[in-house]
Every structure is written in C-alpha cells, then in structure tokens.
C-alpha cells in the first residue's frame, strides 16, 4: 500500500498490454473526467510506461508487470472497464485534491 496525494497528480497513465484497445478507451474517459484538473492522461503499453507518471491504472492481470516496470510509481489495478470502484476512488481523490491508499 502507498498513499497517493490526489492534488500532486499531474500525469496519469492507463496501461494495457498492447496500448491499442481497452487502455485507449479508459484513457479517453479519464481524460474527460480530469480535464478540469490539469492532469495529463495518456495510454501506454505496460512495457513502456513513462517514468514521469504520477500514477498508473491497469487491468488487474497486468498490475504485477506494471509494478515491475515502474517500481516507484503507485499502480492501481482495476477489474471493470466501466465504473470500477478503484478507478473511481483515484478520480475522486484527484478531483477533490485528497489522499487515497493505493
């Protein structure tokens, strides 16, 4: 577990295996939700997560690979593409500028 300060998040990465499908869809959704908060949202293959990311969200099955690629960046696994509670918590922490355990 790590504590993520929502107010310090400037770059959120959505990672998936190929960076071609589900991560693209989730990134576009999050981009709209976080547009007002000045957060850069990008999608990326899990093997190529940029090291300047503040937080990474990825499908649960890829979380271990993501942690291996960026051991110092909080990785938030999700199960559901639509309305996953873990993703919703991160979005809310960023919008409200609060902290959240990840």
């Amino acid at each position: 577990m790590a504590t993520l300060d929502g107010s310090s998040v400037k770059k959120l990465i959505v990672a998936c295996d190929a960076g071609m499908g589900s991560s693209v869809m989730l990134a576009s959704t999050l981009k709209k939700q976080l547009a007002k908060n000045g957060v850069t949202v990008e999608h990326s293959p899990v093997a190529h997560i940029p090291s300047d990311a503040d937080v990474v969200v990825t499908q649960a099955g890829l979380a271990d690979r993501a942690r291996h690629v960026v051991p110092d960046i909080p990785v938030v696994p999700f199960q559901l593409f639509l309305g996953d509670p873990a993703v919703a918590k991160i979005v809310k922490a960023i919008q409200d500028g609060t902290t959240v355990e990840v």
Binding site: A18, M20, G21, S22, K32, P45, G61, F81, L82
Partner: protein, 155 residues
C-alpha cells in the same frame, strides 16, 4: 499526443463491409476468429494476428461491459498489423465471453493512432446505457456509424 492529426475518416477506419450485424458464433474463440477474419479481409492485418488476438484474450479479457468486447492483439502481435482498422460484429444470439454475455465484438487493429477517436466515442456510448443498448440492438450500418461518429460537442 497529436491524435487529432492522424485520425482517419470513420468510413475508412470502419468500412461498411466490416460491419456485420447478423453474425453467429459458437463460442468466444469463434467470435474472435470471425473478428480477426474480418480484419484480414479489410486488409489491416496478416492472418497471424488472429492468433495474437486469441492469446491476448486468454491472458486478459477484452470484455469491457455493456455486452461489448473489444478483441485485439498483443504488443508482440503488432508486427502483423498493416493498417489501423476496426470491425463491428453483432451477435444477436449472444456469445458467452468467459462468463459475460457479449452481443457486440469490436475488433481492433492499430498501427498508429488512427483509431483513437472511434474508441473514445465507443467509451462514451458504453457509459450511456441508452446508447449502449442502441449499439447492441443496431440492425443497419447507418445506426452503427451514427453512434460511433465523434461528436465532441455532444457532452
């Protein structure tokens, strides 16, 4: 990212012949093979991409909710991709997608970023229960185009 500059017109990315609204599949793998075959026919991928799609599905499901899955290949399978393309297969009888009912499979091949606006719009459709139901119930390609056309003002 300069996604906007590289977007293809919707009908180039998703050709009318790549919209198959009355498909039938025995199971998930059959549905994925059909989506892969449609991408091969669209000239977007080599046949080996279909194996990458099956491999990806076995590692992480591409079921995204609302009766929709978005089968696509792995990073390793990307060499088999020649062009950005999307195919839409509707299975009126449904397909068991590893425990989830799927009635629409959106097959994806992406070499660049030409497909991002369409996927972004698909996300918008799936987050709106009425639009998602309209996609599951689409019986003409025009209905699919109407739902998936980017309309950034309509938010």
């Amino acid at each position: 990212m300069s996604d906007e500059e590289t977007q293809k017109p919707l009908t180039d990315l998703l050709a009318p012949a790549s919209i198959r609204l009355d498909a039938k599949a025995a199971d998930r793998d059959d549905a994925i093979r059909q989506a892969g075959a449609a991408l091969v026919e669209a000239g977007a991928v080599d046949p080996s991409y279909v194996d990458a799609m099956l491999e990806r599905e076995n590692s992480v499901s591409t079921f995204v909710g609302e009766g929709v899955a978005i089968p696509h290949g792995t990073l390793a399978g990307k060499d088999a991709v020649k062009d950005d393309a999307i195919v839409v297969l509707r299975f009126p009888d449904g397909v068991d997608w590893h425990g989830n009912p799927v009635s629409v499979a959106v097959g994806i091949a992406a070499k660049g970023n030409g497909h991002i606006a369409l996927l972004s719009q698909l996300a918008t459709v799936l987050l709106d229960p009425e639009k998602a139901a309209a996609l599951r119930g689409a019986t003409t390609p025009d209905q699919v185009y109407e739902l998936l056309a980017s309309d950034e003002d309509d938010e």
